[in-house]
């Protein structure tokens, strides 16, 4: 539709379409966001609901057959319970799969890429063990977050979930 309108109304002569989309849809100002939200509610969502109250048609036609390939950085946030995006992504993927029926796939190459830093962390564990134990003790004593002390998120997540038994080692695999 965008391509068709661009051609029909020679939009390219008057504005940069990418820049227009960026400013209005991708990175709108706060005021514009609020305006668009209300505009969409009034002019789009209400008519849609009156036409299709269960939204079944829209879900079936717009989202059916969609496939999301999960990248390794998303796998990381799913695996690391202390990752800032963990809860959001966990809920998002559950709702995507269960409520929208969208297929979720991960390629075996992506799993290999995910495993590389995990294996590195496991290999480095003996070297870092005493430091991790110190961080765990400090965090317990002051009720602080290991992520504030450890740059490597794999170790930070490990310490967060194993504050009382650092010596057992082994980061979680997928």
């Amino acid at each position: 539709m965008v391509a068709e309108c661009t051609k029909r109304y020679t939009i390219d002569k008057f504005l940069d379409v990418d820049e227009f989309i960026r400013r209005t849809l991708v990175r709108p100002t706060e005021v514009l966001s609020e305006y668009l939200h209300r505009l969409i509610q009034v002019n789009v969502i209400m008519p849609i609901l009156s036409w299709d109250p269960d939204l079944a048609y829209l879900q079936n036609n717009i989202l059916s057959g969609k496939i999301l390939h999960i990248d390794s950085n998303v796998l990381f946030s799913l695996m690391q319970t202390t990752h800032p995006q963990h809860q959001f992504l966990s809920n998002l993927l559950r709702a995507t799969r269960n409520d929208l029926g969208v297929q979720l796939l991960v390629h075996e190459k992506t799993i290999s890429e995910y495993h590389q830093p995990i294996e590195w962390a496991n290999e480095q564990f003996d070297h870092y063990r005493s430091r991790l134990r110190d961080v765990a003790e400090t965090c317990k004593r002051h009720n602080e977050r290991p992520a504030d002390y450890l740059e490597e998120s794999v170790f930070a997540d490990y310490v967060s979930n194993n504050l009382d038994h650092i010596d057992q080692g082994t980061c979680r695999n997928i």
Binding site: M1, V2, V17, D18, I21, R22, L25, V26, I45, L49, D54, L55, L58, Q59, I62, L63, G65, K66, I67, L68, H69, I70, D71, S72, N73, V74, L75, S77, L78, M79, Q85, F88, L89, S90, N91, L92, L93, R94, A95, T96, R97, N98, D99, L100, V102, Q103, L104, L105, V106, H107, E108, K109, T110, I111, S112, E113, I174
Partner: protein, 130 residues
């Protein structure tokens, strides 16, 4: 494999071969994109081995299909769900328009796919992402 089962994520073993010349060009753009992103202070290191990202880009763009009635968003049948901000720079370098990108960020997916769900759930007073 517990996490994958929990989220009903299936493992794909499709071949992701990329012709050599294209492979090198894509990898080069991915490295430059990560450097640009680092220069903007948005990431801490340049990608050392972009092979996986290059394979995913080539494979998804080869395998995806555009809907006949494809609108401004979600026009294709498959996307890479990623947190990699440098892919926006990558798309810029390859002159891929915003409506044609092969990747989507979680917040974009949430905004694009869930208005319907939010409304439906709001009517039953349950938030899907609470």
């Amino acid at each position: 494999m517990g996490t994958l089962k929990t989220f009903s994520i299936r493992v794909d073993k499709t071949s992701v071969y990329v012709p050599k010349d294209e492979f090198e060009a894509i990898k080069d753009a991915l490295v430059r994109a990560s450097k640009l992103q680092m220069d903007r202070g948005k990431r801490s290191y340049v990608k050392i081995d972009p092979a996986h990202d290059a394979q995913m880009y080539y494979w998804i763009t080869s395998a995806r299909r555009k809907r006949d009635d494809g609108g401004i968003s979600l026009g294709y049948d498959r996307y890479l769900l990623t947190l990699d901000g440098s892919l926006t720079q990558f798309a810029n370098l390859l002159r891929i328009p915003l409506t044609e990108t092969f990747f989507i960020y979680p917040n974009q997916w949430y905004e694009l796919a869930f208005p319907f769900l939010r409304i439906r759930r709001a009517r039953t007073r349950v938030s899907p992402l609470a």
